[in-house]
Symmetry: C2
Subunit: 204 residues, 2 copies
Amino acid sequence: MKIRTIFALCLATATLTLTSCNSSQKDENVTTPIENIMTRTSIRAFTPEKLTDAEIETLLRAGMAAPTAVNKQPWDFVVVDDPALLDSLQAALSKAPITRANCQQVIVVCGNMQKALEGDAQAYWIQDCSAATQNILLAAHAMGLGAVWCGVLPIKERIEAVSAVLKLPSFVRPLCVIPVGHPAEAPQPKDKWKSENVHRNAAW
Amino acid sequence: MKIRTIFALCLATATLTLTSCNSSQKDENVTTPIENIMTRTSIRAFTPEKLTDAEIETLLRAGMAAPTAVNKQPWDFVVVDDPALLDSLQAALSKAPITRANCQQVIVVCGNMQKALEGDAQAYWIQDCSAATQNILLAAHAMGLGAVWCGVLPIKERIEAVSAVLKLPSFVRPLCVIPVGHPAEAPQPKDKWKSENVHRNAAW
């Protein structure tokens, strides 16, 4: 074997190794789950680009991965991308950034009383659906998307208006509306750490 | 230069590259935020190892990073590691895995009505504190710890019992108790995806 051939072979190996190295090094910049939690913030302005069905499914899978009391999974998720319905939802939630001009789709997180616990424990659905909502917000942030939690429950007029727009059955209650999309703003995450919020044992 | 020298040089370069590659490849195994959401599951059995103050602070910082209605941050967090109090909390929450024999510490997530919104909107604190709870569960999982959401509200007897054990002021309401620690079990995460939970626009 000639020197040149050996050298070329070695160079090719090194190049190949370096190439695969570069793709690995990219992973050093992957956001960790805790960084993702700490840097998530509400996004209210979006580009005109719609989410893909796969992106929406990832968000919904994250939502359904939340824990629920007695594993009841007492929820339904309504994906709204009809422009007229988006305008109607915006009218129902005065300050929400949902108009068709700003937002291509929202996810409405609902409790389903046919799946919920009974009696006093029924209200656990609110905590279950809140956990699902938080998972969706975190997943959106991890995907480079933006989202914001627009409260519906417990405001009676909002519950009625959203239920009417989406023709929800009487056993389905909207908790919140999540506008989600590609961010058209980059606000600084708030630092909400306050040591005075922390207490030890029974010494309030 | 001799063939052997060139070959040795090339081999050294390749080895060096591969070594630095290996450290990068390790990062490929870093859990992404979405994997962390999808693989979190409830952990109810713990080793005797206590959490460090730094670990507890990370969990609490994650909790306080949750979004809240009108940014009210209507919460307080009680860290309980006193063995007698743990036993008392276990007595207050019959099925919770909180005895001193099993669990070294819990975080009690509370709403503070002096910080909450007023009127009908006050109840948003439940959603705010639920988002904080979910952040704590996800942060624990990301840190290799385990945790479980033990419901208190809306069950009146549990609210009263937990409030009495922790001597909570009347304006502070316990939402849930989170036993947290080093896992002594490794249950399989549940697959809770159900396509029938997903609806489009106003077509229920």
